[in-house]
Amino acid sequence: MKTTAILFLISIVLSVNAFAQYGSEAVTDARSMGMGKTANATSQGVYSLGINPARLVKTEERIDFVTALPLPHVSVSAGTNFITINDINYYFDGKTYSDNDKRNLNSLFNNGGLINGDCSFTLLSFAIRLKPSIGAFAFSINDVVDGNFTVPRAVSSVLLNGNPENSSYSFDDTKLRGWWIRNYSLSYAKKIDEVKTSVFDKLSAGISIKYYQGFAYAKSENLNGNSIRTGTDNVISLNTNYSVKTAFSDNFHVKYAFDTTAKKDAEVSPFSSPAGTGFGIDLGFNVTVCKEYDVALAITDIGGITWNKNTALTYSDMQYSLNDIFNKDQRDSLKNKFKSVSKPVESFSTGLPTTLRFGIARTFDFNDGGSFPGKLLVALDINQGFNDEPGNSTKTRVSFGGEWITARGVPILRTGFSFGGLYGFHWGLGLGIDTGPLEFNFATFDLQSFLKPNSAKYISVALDSRWKF
């Protein structure tokens, strides 16, 4: 099991990111990414799926859809929150670290050594808007592979400083999260013209019902008291208290330690049998306030997944003290105690990356006068995740961004900034080309990685296309 699981985890941690709207953190489409992942009150058509289904109706086109042609929805994002290329070049050129170097390198991990990556892919996304009295319908199939791993700060401290007497290092900030899920989403949205006041106008509401399949899941839990302490007289105390829940598709042929049956090699395919299934709902509302502001509120991915195939709990809850390295019992005890133990579990449930999304946007139309050409869309988003499932965070993320549409045929400029959340500050920049039936978008969420690539911790590039009629 170990080899397969490690390969899986490495693959999800180092994976690339494609088109998705999911969780409070995960990468969105190229248009939103260019605006600093600002999408709640600006997404339109199929781009609104997963963000706010009410905004399905916020487009003038009758039909829009996303396929792999002419451009697949692809975005690439990988990085860490702690080390830059400059840092790598500095610290890995064979030098002998001075005390200052060690201090500075260690400080890079002050906020935890998060390594993240997520990959999502829209196999199909299609939306059609019928008569206003009927509303709009959409269907999409999205795959998400998301994972991140937080290297505990203690690792760098122990490696660089060793274990001075009366030192203590905690490993409780270790985190491992990852899954591969797929959702089949059916969405409906409708304008509700009946609700209209002098302040509120153009209310629309939407709902998405999602059927989820999960193919792989791994998450660390209950990390509490994991530490290494060197006490008086160099007595070393080690404590572990953690558990990792895992579930894998039958096709992966994962072999756990407790599993005595022979297993074949993993057969990972796009249509693997699920290890878990579940349902989710997105609810969204959008309203125009004071005729100028689009205000959107949605809660997405209410629901969960029950994992019931190849489920296991790997755990360790040990206390160990070493005060005599020549004591064979102590040495043997160390080997025995720190073996993780796996046991099968019947099934377990996990939540979906439920997120509350609020956004407000206003479009300034300069075509009617003034010296500034075109339309300028500015927007503010607040995303609040309710759990720490992959792609989600309970840390609030705030972003604001803008889109400047000048004239048909002229590239659309987008930029935006994102604060908070798991990854902190990011500056997005994007370009869009609207040819009428076909729209192309290019973006990065990490403009700093282009302007100062050596100082960048993340690198991301996104491109996609959308057909619309």
Binding site: I85, F92, Y97, D233, F372, F450
Partner: protein, 544 residues
């Protein structure tokens, strides 16, 4: 001046803005060329590694290897003590010289009547040599001799019967002829004969051999007399029951070689407070009633290889002991109370010699003895672990198992230290000199205690009371710090030369050596808490 229409004006502004943005974007982009790492090299750094090494309590019982000559007496922690027990040394003395009666005895001028009418006989008793009294005996050899004078003119027939001398259930009967006017003589060997005192022999004649002498003289005179002499001598017995006279077997010497092993190192250093020497003397015999014997002028001498000696003295200071053995066995325990045994054992002789004069049957008693009987000496000694040590050095040079690969790793260590906290409940001082040597046995450096002014590596002894009993453990702290130079030299170390000095504190309670008597008990405990650390230069290339 160019005049734009409204739409043209907007396009112009748009183009202008785009150009500006494009220039800014390109400028910013160009400002940061990515410098992707292409040749990552492993870094190096110093890291402090600290480990606990030993945290343990050792009782002496844990430390001292199980050895068959060390045992523990007593079960409680208060009275248990080591007993160092020697092997049992045994030697035998053969007493064949005692089982004999050799001095010739005679009975002469005996007139034996002889008649032509009737056969005559007469009982005659011949004294046994040396005055021995035989109830039973088995002859290995012996001689009987007879001499006869026949004054008559015809031949006399003589028959001598020995009722007590038997072979094949028949008494010895000797027939001889005495020719007229002739002197006849006969000699007879008793080899293979047994002796059993005839039932009808009077007790006053038990020290004599009964003979029934008969004679006949057909066609001779009516009465005549034969003149006969009888002799016996050189009686050597396989066994005897009865009385054999006291016999001095002379001076005999027995030596016991003692394998001291490593204990030789403690010669002239150790003073024992309590010891015992057991001497067992047994008559080894198949018989129930062995003869007693006496050892006079017994000297017990301890000797070393260099010829130096010590005598075991009795409480009066005499080196001559007298030992008398009755009932076939004797046991005596020498202690400090009846001898100078502590000094004798502390001398640690490699050989113990026992000289003595052996006197068999000194009291003239009766008994049973066989030529195969012997006197067996068995001796052993023991001492308890109540002793005093003057400074005793144990020195050795041992190889250190450091491979060349290990050396490379050791070179990456910059400094190192070992801290030893010792709580010593053993009443012995220990001082260590440890020197590291290279392949050519050249000195690299000597370990020093940086926590001591003298820099000696020493563990203080437990405090003892006037009886040498431990009352308090002693705390010692040693810190052995290796600087960068020493740590580098450590990689070249291939041998360790050490000298360990063990001793008890000085005191006047041991008038011999001045070292203080202490009682070492199995439950004396040494608590060690050892930990250390190294500042290690991590070179990840070395780890490949």
């Amino acid at each position: 001046m160019v005049i734009y229409g409204r739409m043209e004006l907007k396009k112009h502004i748009l183009t202008k803005h785009y150009k500006i943005l494009f220039v800014i974007f390109i400028a910013l982009w160009n400002s940061g060329c990515i410098d992707l790492p292409t040749d990552l090299k492993a870094p190096q750094w110093d890291v402090d590694l600290n480990v606990p090494i030993v945290s343990r309590s050792y009782t002496l019982n844990d430390i001292i290897k199980q050895q068959n000559y060390i045992s523990i007496s007593g079960s409680s922690s208060a009275d248990s003590i080591y007993i160092i027990q020697s092997e049992k040394y045994a030697q035998s003395i053969n007493i064949a010289d005692f089982v004999k009666a050799t001095t010739e005895t005679s009975l002469t001028g005996n007139l034996i009547p002889v008649s032509s009418l009737i056969d005559t006989s007469i009982a005659i008793y011949l004294p046994i040599p040396d005055g021995a009294v035989l109830n039973k005996a088995v002859f290995s050899s012996g001689t009987l001799k007879f001499h006869v004078i026949n004054p008559a003119s015809v031949t006399a027939n003589i028959t001598i019967t020995f009722p007590g001398i038997i072979k094949d259930n028949s008494a010895l009967k000797i027939t001889m002829y005495a020719l007229p006017g002739d002197n006849g003589a006969v000699q007879y060997s008793l080899a293979g004969y047994n002796y059993s005192l005839p039932q009808n022999q009077q007790s006053v004649n038990q020290n004599k051999i009964q003979m029934i002498v008969g004679a006949s003289m057909p066609n001779g005179p009516l009465l005549s007399f034969l003149d006969m002499d009888f002799y016996c001598s050189d009686f050597y017995f396989s066994s005897v029951t009865g009385y054999l006279p006291a016999r001095d077997l002379g001076t005999k010497t027995n030596s016991f070689v003692i394998n001291l092993g490593k204990a030789e190192d403690y010669r002239d250093k150790v003073s024992l407070k309590s010891s015992n020497l057991n001497l067992n003397i047994n008559c080894i015999s198949q018989n129930q009633n062995p003869f007693g014997f006496e050892l006079t002028n017994v000297n017990i001498i301890g000797e070393r290889e260099d010829g130096s000696k010590i005598y075991l003295l009795d409480s009066t200071g005499s080196r001559n002991f007298t030992i008398k053995i009755n009932n076939g066995s004797y046991y005596y325990q020498f202690t400090q109370n009846n001898s100078n045994l502590n000094s004798f054992i502390s001398f640690l002789p490699s050989k113990v010699t026992l000289n003595a004069d052996y006197i068999m049957n000194p009291d003239g008693a009766t008994g049973t003895v066989a030529v195969t009987d012997s006197i067996k000496f068995t001796t052993d000694f023991s001492t308890s672990s109540a002793l005093a040590f003057e400074s005793s050095m144990i020195a050795d040079t041992v190889s250190v198992n450091i491979t060349d690969q290990d050396s490379i790793k050791i070179k990456d260590a910059k400094t190192a230290y070992i801290n030893v906290d010792a709580q010593n409940g053993i009443p012995l001082n220990t001082t260590l000199d440890v020197t590291l040597l290279d392949r050519q046995y050249k000195t690299l450096f000597t370990l020093k205690n940086s926590n001591s002014v003298k820099q000696t590596i020493a563990i203080d002894p437990a405090a003892v009371n006037s009886n040498g009993e431990v009352i308090n453990a002693a705390n010692s702290n040693l810190v052995i710090q290796l600087d960068s130079t020493q740590t580098k030299m450590l990689s070249a170390a291939r041998y360790v030369a050490y000298s360990a000095y063990v001793y008890t504190n000085t005191s006047n309670n041991n008038p011999v050596s001045g070292a203080k008597y202490v009682t070492i008990r199995p439950n004396n405990t040494l608590k060690l808490n050892v930990y250390g650390g190294v500042k290690y230069h991590v070179n990840t290339d070395d780890l490949k």
